[in-house]
């Protein structure tokens, strides 16, 4: 088992999920609250990163992140280091790539809150912020869990984008998915199988426990 790569994968997945949580909540909330017209196209835009093959998306991100491009240049100016072939770079790439998986479930969850529940919160004096924390968040919780788990595991398994943007630097951007792929390509099938199995079992247990523990609070009044 390549523990370094696993560690990086876990960190990457954790970062991507952590960053997508607020993004998903904001975007999902906004999409759920916005009246129909035009909204469909924002939803479409959110889904677009999925359309391109990962390596190709990765290539465009590589170009976008390079110092010759305003985005990459700005990042370097602000942080002093480049985005390409860095951990930050693959985190951002993962965030972009997982956008639809984080936004969609959260948006649907927001849409399923009956409007009068929100109104009752306002009339009970809860600010929009407190309404969000005390009322909406607990009610959309299953959707948030879905979003986070999909993001997390999709990041664990993602290969093309991360290889392209990250360059498989040992200890920095070489994730467990790349490690498994490399072992496989080197025809070290038993090592690949061991790593795959470990990852599968660990993920299965972890996701299973998360889903079981985040048992649903009552979402409906009789």
């Amino acid at each position: 088992m390549d523990w370094t790569a696993l560690n990086i994968s876990l960190q990457l997945a954790a970062w991507a999920s952590a960053l997508l949580l607020p993004i998903g909540l904001l975007l999902g909330r906004w999409l759920a609250a916005t009246p129909m017209r035009g909204r469909g196209f924002v939803e479409a835009a959110v889904a677009l990163p999925l359309v391109l093959p990962p390596t190709v998306l990765g290539f465009y991100l590589l170009v976008l992140f390079s110092d010759d491009n305003p985005a990459g240049w700005l990042w370097r100016t602000l942080t002093g280091s480049g985005l390409n072939f860095s951990f930050s770079g693959i985190v951002i790439a993962s965030v972009i790539f997982n956008l639809p998986f984080a936004v969609q479930p959260i948006q649907r969850a927001f849409e399923s809150i009956p409007p009068y529940v929100r109104e009752a919160a306002w009339c009970s004096g809860l600010s929009h912020w407190r309404t969000f924390w005390r009322i909406e968040l607990p009610l959309i919780w299953p959707g948030v869990i879905s979003a986070m788990i999909l993001t997390f595991i999709h990041t664990l398994g993602e290969f093309g984008v991360i290889l392209m943007v990250g360059g498989a630097i040992d200890g920095e951007t070489r994730t467990i998915a790349i490690a498994i792929y490399d072992r496989m390509q080197a025809f070290d099938e038993s090592a690949a199988a061991t790593m795959s199995l470990t990852l599968l079992i660990a993920s299965f247990a972890a996701i299973g426990i998360v889903y079981s523990l985040t048992g649903r609070k009552p979402l409906h009044v009789r």
Partner: protein, 376 residues
């Protein structure tokens, strides 16, 4: 500044017609009554800031909550209006206690819990504080909603049929609690109710709404005895609304009704010969009992035959066809009296229409309204 605590004026043609002006003083309880779909809930939602009428102003004390012309529209949070939703709208994921504490913005957590328990006791729900809303019956949920509206220490209390799902005993107790509460919290209260007894027992004034229009706002007694229009009278469940013509006989005002000439206690401010609508409340129709002459029997005696006789518990409803071609009268008498006087279908009876109770309506007050298109 208006001396009223809460003042509102709403106008809109579509999609929900609204046209009313209401003011409620602090500590005053205004009952809003009217048929299903007349806009009662919409009025409360407008006050709470959940519905935005096309034109309108809402003031509460010195604050302007809504002024569509000045583009002022405070959000619900700033309005501090406690609203009991018609469908309760409890927070499904919170226990009964937390449904209350979440609405409190003062005091420590412990103080809030104590206050929540106190409020739950007020609505007779002690012992259910750890339940979730889906573990409550309809009436229990409704009472949680009432307690939650109070938990906020509102500056205006808006109750949308708050007792419709509770039994009469609990309802009576809750009505008493509400009466007590009024004295304590001193804020304007608007109560939507379908129960006219409840309205007259609890309210200082009653506003009758129909198709979004406030037809009449008055003290219970005035409203029940002197409805402004036949429509109001009928909306209040009065059956005895008739047409007649004003006469003057020997300098005294009289009302021609069928063949009869009825005495009037006061002279209506209308020219002799006017065709008018008039009305008499149940309490001023006096049944003449066999062998027991009563004080009012001289006044406007009317003879007729019973065509219907429906006992409704302690009261019995009687319809009589009057002699002289007048429209049929309906009256309620105690079932006991009906039994003692052997009143049944086909029996001939005699009643007095007490002059004091006869209310002649002024067409000027309502004919204008009738040009409007009222639908069911």
């Amino acid at each position: 500044m208006s001396a009223d605590w809460l003042f509102l004026q709403l106008h809109q043609n579509a999609p929900i017609p609204l046209s009313l002006q209401i003011s409620v003083r602090a500590g005053e309880l205004l009952a809003l009554v009217g048929p299903s779909g007349s806009g009662k809930t919409t009025v409360l939602r407008s006050i709470a800031g959940l519905y935005r009428p096309q034109y309108g102003t809402i003031h509460c004390r010195d604050d302007v909550w809504l002024d569509t012309r000045a583009a002022i529209d405070h959000p619900p949070q700033q309005r501090r209006a406690g609203l009991v939703f018609q469908n309760y709208a409890l927070f499904p994921h919170l226990t009964v206690r937390d449904n209350l504490t979440v609405a409190m913005d003062q005091g420590t957590a412990a103080a809030q819990r104590t206050e929540a328990l106190r409020l739950l006791e007020t609505v007779h729900l002690k012992g259910l504080e750890d339940r979730y809303p889906h573990e409550l019956s309809g009436g229990q949920q409704q009472r949680v909603a009432v307690a939650r509206a109070l938990a906020r220490q509102p500056r205006v209390l808006l109750l949308d049929e708050p007792f419709s799902a509770v039994d009469q005993m609990t309802r009576k107790r809750l009505q008493n609690e509400l009466a007590r509460l009024r004295r304590r919290i001193e804020v304007p209260i608007i109560l939507v109710t379908h129960d006219l007894n409840e309205a007259s027992a609890l309210a200082d004034r009653i506003c009758v709404l129909h198709n979004g229009r406030a037809l009449q706002t008055d003290h219970a007694d005035s409203l029940f005895r002197r409805p402004r229009s036949p429509q109001v009278a009928r909306l209040l469940g009065h059956n005895n609304v008739f047409n007649g013509r004003l006469l003057t006989v020997n300098g005294q005002p009289r009302l021609r009704w069928g063949d009869q000439q009825l005495e009037l206690a006061t002279s209506p401010p209308l020219p002799t010969g006017s065709d008018v609508d008039w009305f008499i409340p149940d309490s001023d129709i006096l049944l003449h009992r066999r062998g027991r002459p009563s004080l009012g029997e001289r006044e406007n005696p009317v003879t007729g035959r019973v065509t219907e006789c429906v006992p409704l518990g302690a009261q019995t409803e009687i319809t009589m066809r009057c002699q002289g071609g007048a429209q049929p009268l309906r009256l309620q008498i105690s079932t006991h009296a009906a039994r003692r006087n052997d009143i049944r279908i086909g029996a001939d009876i005699r009643v007095s229409l007490l002059a004091e109770g006869i209310h002649v309506m002024n067409p000027v007050d309502y004919r204008a309204d009738q040009s409007l298109n009222f639908s069911a």
